[in-house]
Subunit: 212 residues, 2 copies
């Protein structure tokens, strides 16, 4: 459909690494995936609070600010869900390029869609799988959605009438039944720390090497 | 098309103002509009360089990182152009909410589309009109597009075979024929300064009032 032959590819004058040096952090896409009721939004907000306390710049993408804005033209058919996740992957990658630790909270049930988001964000993708059984999620049912799905009021409901494809090799796996929310946050922050996302020294070295 | 009745509206725990305090700046959508060849990309990059030197966090959205990513499913029909600008407006508003000074460089020829982008970014929209005649732009023709358009090789080319609706009341008007690029940058930076986008004291006051 697209005819992009007349676009000229240029590069921004402000390299991503300069922004990262300014912020003292590397941008990342922290991609939370799991069933409805697995605790994605709760975890995203707790993580956002913690990272902000640590002086880190974060931003959360979720159904609230995406489904009612960027993706308001989309419904819940499989095609529209794919397109929804595709756009979120693209926007998250832009935020990561801007140096932001961007947290996405979407069921994102299809492996292929998550693989596309991973490829789009080129090396800064941290997949966090909220590994909780559908039985537990249905027992919690914080928004009453499972009840509606069981009553046939919601079609294509993940875990009930639509599949959830479990991540095979997520960077982080958390079970929100076994761990409380702060313990889940600990696990993610420790991962980011270990991988150098807060390491300004290694960023400086990168910048020097780029100039050499 | 959209069925969002089962979405629950929640609010992020990290208020935009907290992020802005951390960054020492207010987020803004700096929306450059003008004909092809009016100098949008050149101005955006010069502005990005200047703001970065000033220690400000910026990010540029342009054809390069949007048309080949988020909007790669769209072509150049009027409907697709509307949708392209709609998505850019939504993404730019998210960046501004994250505290970033986001620069957008798109022809964005229709007043209605720009009005929608303005409404989406709620009070942080700075429309910059690159006011240069089509004759001057065609003489410059940096990418050879006017030549192709005149030869009929590009349909719906703004200024030749498709309209450009001039902004009636842009926040800033720059004529890149009369001013050099650094003078244009000066004008935009002065505007942002005057409007308090770099004023951390007023941000602190806002945060205190919000807590009171």
């Amino acid at each position: 459909m697209s005819d992009n032959r007349n676009l000229t590819r240029t590069h921004s004058s402000v390299a991503a690494v300069q922004r990262e040096l300014m912020l003292g952090q590397r941008g990342a896409v922290i991609w939370l995936t799991g069933l409805s009721g697995s605790g994605k939004s709760t975890l995203a907000y707790a993580l956002e609070r913690r990272l902000t306390k640590m002086g880190r710049l974060t931003f959360a993408l979720d159904g609230d600010n995406v489904r009612m804005g960027l993706c308001k033209d989309l419904g819940f058919t499989p095609e529209d869900r794919n397109e929804n996740i595709r756009r979120i992957g693209e926007v998250a990658a832009l935020f990561a390029e801007a140096g932001v630790l961007v947290l996405t909270s979407f069921i994102s049930p299809y492996s292929q869609d998550r693989a596309t988001a991973r490829a789009t964000s080129k090396g800064s993708f941290v997949e966090v799988y909220l590994d909780v059984s559908v039985e537990v999620c249905e027992r919690r049912d914080p928004k009453g959605l499972y009840k509606k799905a069981r009553a046939g009021e919601i079609a294509n409901f993940t875990g009930i009438s639509a599949p959830y494809e479990e991540p095979a090799e997520p960077e982080i796996r958390v079970n929100t039944e076994e761990l409380n929310v702060e313990e889940c946050v600990d696990k993610i922050v420790a991962y980011l720390d270990t991988k150098g996302y807060f390491n300004v020294e290694s960023l400086k070295k990168q910048a020097e090497e780029a100039q050499a």
